[in-house]
Symmetry: none
């Protein structure tokens, strides 16, 4: 068929389309990672043994396809993300979706807590709760104490995978865009309500009432969900 070129071993098709395909494959394969800089146009021209104009034609197609971004004076960067990192997840997760996720796992966590937690850990829960009570005037402090309380709960489950998952959720919680909304939602009254719910939860755990504790957690999160949607 076509044996005009003997340097085509680098690419299946010839010309700019060949460079395009070659680079695209490397990008989607992850040979070039997200945000990584490609070699300069001049280098690529050497590597592929073509003229720089040809490389540029291919890069223009890649740019149009949204796989790369070219920056004047700087370089050509991969803008294609093969597997999203936690950062990406944090950015595309809405507060509602976050609550929904917590609603999935936290009620089950407290069930495990009731069956697995020992006294030492329950004491840590109590300490964490008291800390949250002290910061009823400061939304930021309360928010931190609240995160800590729920994370301590995860630890009490004794399940390393659940703990790890909850750490990731907490990362996203503190990352998310809506931090600025906190001050609107977390009025003193709300903080008091949340603290009361936490107290009731701890009580149920002490009584070893798995179903009760789980229900309180569900109610707690549904309340948080309502508060989130309400003023929005």
């Amino acid at each position: 068929m076509n044996s005009q070129n003997n340097n085509t071993h680098l690419r299946a098709t010839s010309g700019a389309a060949g460079i395009f395909n070659g680079l695209r494959e490397r990008i989607v394969n992850g040979d070039y990672n997200f945000n990584e800089r490609l070699p300069s146009e001049r280098d690529l021209a050497l590597k592929f043994a073509v003229a720089r104009g040809t490389v540029r034609a291919a890069l223009e197609q890649l740019e149009q396809a949204g796989l790369v971004v070219r920056k004047f004076g700087s370089g050509t960067f991969v803008s294609y993300n093969t597997n999203p990192t936690q950062e990406d997840i944090a950015e595309e997760t809405s507060p509602l979706e976050l609550i929904e996720t917590r609603l999935a796992i936290e009620p089950h966590i407290v069930k495990l807590v009731v069956s697995n937690a020992n006294n030492r850990e329950i004491r840590k829960l109590k300490e964490s709760l008291e800390k949250a009570m002290l910061s009823r005037r400061n939304p930021n402090d309360f928010s931190k104490a609240d995160e800590e309380f729920h994370l301590t709960l995860a630890h009490c489950s004794q399940n390393p995978l659940l703990i790890w998952i909850y750490q990731r959720i907490n990362d996203i919680r503190s990352h998310t865009q809506w931090s600025h909304r906190k001050n609107n939602i977390l009025t003193s009254n709300k903080i008091d309500l949340y603290n009361k719910q936490h107290e009731a939860l701890l009580d149920a755990i002490k009584r070893r009432d798995a179903e009760g504790a789980s229900n309180i957690m569900t109610a707690h999160l549904i309340q948080a969900k309502k508060d989130l949607l309400g003023p929005g």
Copy 2:
């Protein structure tokens, strides 16, 4: 020797981005520990054979990423606490703890599926289920098809965070120590039973019966838990 290329092996990309990546890797790998002081900017410039300004540019990025803290007149210090990696978690998570975690989130996922999934996705679920039915003779194939089915369920929830979490769970599922036990557990009879449960689940989803679907998933996972403990 050729001092131009002698230092290139230290970093994959050139310039400040290269220094950044090189240092980041050393930090997350634990080559530099928490609170440890990095070499001075001038030393780093020598080591990497670049100008001090380049090192500073990289350090600024590291600081922005929260990996280091720079103290005027004192030095640059690692502020990154090595979190356990996913590998570590996979190694210390037992099959029982894995099931327990799935028991936490999957019943809730199916509830979300009932309220969020569209017909196109339900069709994908059906395809995935049929694939699992075809592989009733081969435990390995079934296991893969099963993972895919449950992951498709997560996708149907339309919640990026839940999807991401379930991907991590699936990573661990395929990593875990117990893979070799599969052949003992996954007899043809068990596979048929699981497939029937999947079928019933899909049915409930089609009927938009959230509670029913969730209960089926719970029963399904409790069955899997029993099977896991039984012959062990």
